[in-house]
């Protein structure tokens, strides 16, 4: 059961702010400039770093760690947990990351340049900042959690991977409370912008708020964003015993691999992943009210996902609504899957599906019958949300959450 949500997105620092921005069509993409690469656009967060960390912790730690700490505190508070009396050895931390350590390594090399690459000026903080478990470990240190903590490297499927891991660990009895989701600090390294640019996959637009435009004929790539989203997951009995508010139940999930290409997606495997998640949930495609698509705004990726969705919803596409959250905030990488799932959870209460914005000229290849374009759509009762997240090296994931 999802009983708490804590997040920072480029257009909101809580679920209520984020949801309002999604319903009002408010983008969080802004002009941005990064070392070497120069002016571009990005999704930038403005949460208060010092709300839950001392200045020294911020200085010593990483942006990903700080994002994780903020989101975790917010999630715990949102869940209404009596934190002082929670046995923190029974809390597990599972954080999805697309990558970690690039930002810190780049910064260190940049500084080393001014010392003529003499490695005795290389910081002793480099290793603790760049170990792959860093973002989860910083959460553990800050919140005094002594249960297991680790990250899941899952490219852009990482947010879903974090939620799946948390669910699995609860089922295994490995923890009583799972703090899980995903974080991203990727905008703080020039490399991700330069690499997408070299690949011809970095979005550009005179108006930053219009740069992220999945499914539109004029889409030209990805808007990189930072952000984070952590969920508190508990078993139903525990949640009910303490009278917790329940956002929904993770009733199905699946991950699989394309095994075909480093970057190009494979609609067949994506469709298999979605079908497997539905099978595990005991649901049919037509039972899904909202599909939160992964589409990132690349020419081929969006069309490939729509191909996969058509294979699953071939005959039942009328009822199910499809939306896209990246059109508002860009691609928050390791946080994307978790943020996009979170943004749809309030639909269980208000029955509204937020849109995919910036859809001025719909690409016929992406013309899904239930696509919610530009304006939110009132669906009535929403019982099931399916959240897609796919990533490089052919990693696919789907998570299904059902209203309780």
């Amino acid at each position: 059961m999802i009983t708490g949500v804590g997040l920072t997105a480029p257009n909101g620092n809580s679920l209520s702010e984020f949801r309002r921005a999604l319903l009002e069509g408010r983008s969080g993409v802004k002009p941005y400039e990064t070392r070497y690469f120069g002016p571009t656009v990005a999704g930038i967060c403005d949460f208060d770093e010092l709300r839950y960390q001392k200045r020294k912790e911020v200085r010593r730690g990483t942006r990903a760690g700080g994002i994780g700490i903020y989101c975790s505190h917010e999630a715990v508070a949102d869940a209404g947990l009596d934190w002082e009396n929670v046995d923190r050895s029974t809390v597990g931390i599972y954080v999805g990351v697309t990558e970690h350590g690039n930002v810190e390594t780049e910064n260190e090399i940049y500084q080393l340049k001014s010392y003529d690459y003499d490695t005795q000026y290389w910081s002793h903080h480099h290793n603790p900042r760049t170990v792959a478990n860093n973002p989860a470990g910083e959460i553990s240190l800050n919140l005094g959690i002594t249960g297991p903590h680790y990250t899941l490297g899952a490219a852009c499927a990482a947010g879903n991977a974090g939620v799946i891991q948390g669910t699995q660990m609860l089922r295994l009895g490995d923890c009583q409370i799972a703090l899980c989701g995903g974080v991203s600090e990727s905008i703080h390294t020039f490399g991700i912008f330069a690499s997408f640019h070299s690949q011809g996959a970095l979005a550009r637009h005179d108006d930053p708020t219009k740069a992220s435009r999945p499914f539109d004929l004029d889409r030209n790539g990805i808007v990189v964003a930072e952000g984070g989203c952590m969920f508190v997951l508990e078993r139903l009995a525990d949640a009910r015993a303490r009278g917790a508010k329940i956002y929904g139940e993770v009733v199905g999930y699946a991950m699989n691999s394309d095994a075909t290409d480093f970057v190009l997606p494979d609609p067949q495997r994506q469709a298999e992943c979605i079908r497997l998640a539905l099978h595990r949930a005991g649901l049919n495609a037509e039972d899904v009210d909202i599909v939160s698509t992964h589409a990132t705004g690349t020419t081929s990726g969006d069309a490939q996902e729509c191909d996969a969705l058509r294979r699953v919803w071939a005959e039942n596409g009328c009822h199910t609504a499809f939306n896209n959250t990246k059109s508002f905030i860009g691609h928050a990488m390791g946080a994307a899957g978790a943020l996009e799932l979170a943004g749809n959870l309030p639909a269980f209460d208000d029955g509204v599906c937020h849109a995919t914005i910036n859809l001025d000229r719909l690409d016929p290849q992406c013309a899904l019958p239930g696509l919610v374009a530009n304006e939110p759509r009132k669906l009535g009762e929403v019982d099931v949300v399916l959240n897609n997240s796919f990533g490089m090296l052919g990693i696919n994931s789907a998570v299904i959450v059902k209203r309780i």
């Binding site: 200045r55 020294k56 200085r59 010593r60 010392y115 002793h124 603790p128």
Partner: protein
């Protein structure tokens, strides 16, 4: 650099690595770690910042000399006498 300038330099480094601390009441002869929340990684930051800012090399066996402000200034004074204050 004079003793006073070295003391100022150390205070500036401490202000950066322990930004939550009030350094105005720092006692000269009491070890830093008894007055401030400094762990071994912070202590290494003092050594690293002296190296970066003033190109002063402090051998590991001399680290105990950097325990307090008084001992640090006393230790660094002869080693930084030719360093020009930035």
């Amino acid at each position: 650099m004079t003793a006073a300038e070295i003391r100022q330099a150390i205070t500036e480094i401490l202000a950066d690595i322990a930004p939550d601390e009030d350094l105005s009441q720092l006692k000269e002869d009491v070890p830093f770690r008894d007055q401030l929340e400094l762990d071994s990684m912070d202590f290494l930051d003092i050594v690293m910042e002296l190296r970066k800012r003033y190109r002063v090399q402090i051998p590991e066996e001399d680290y105990p000399q950097l325990a307090s402000m008084a001992s640090t200034v006393q230790f660094l004074e002869p080693r930084m006498k030719d360093v020009v204050k930035k």
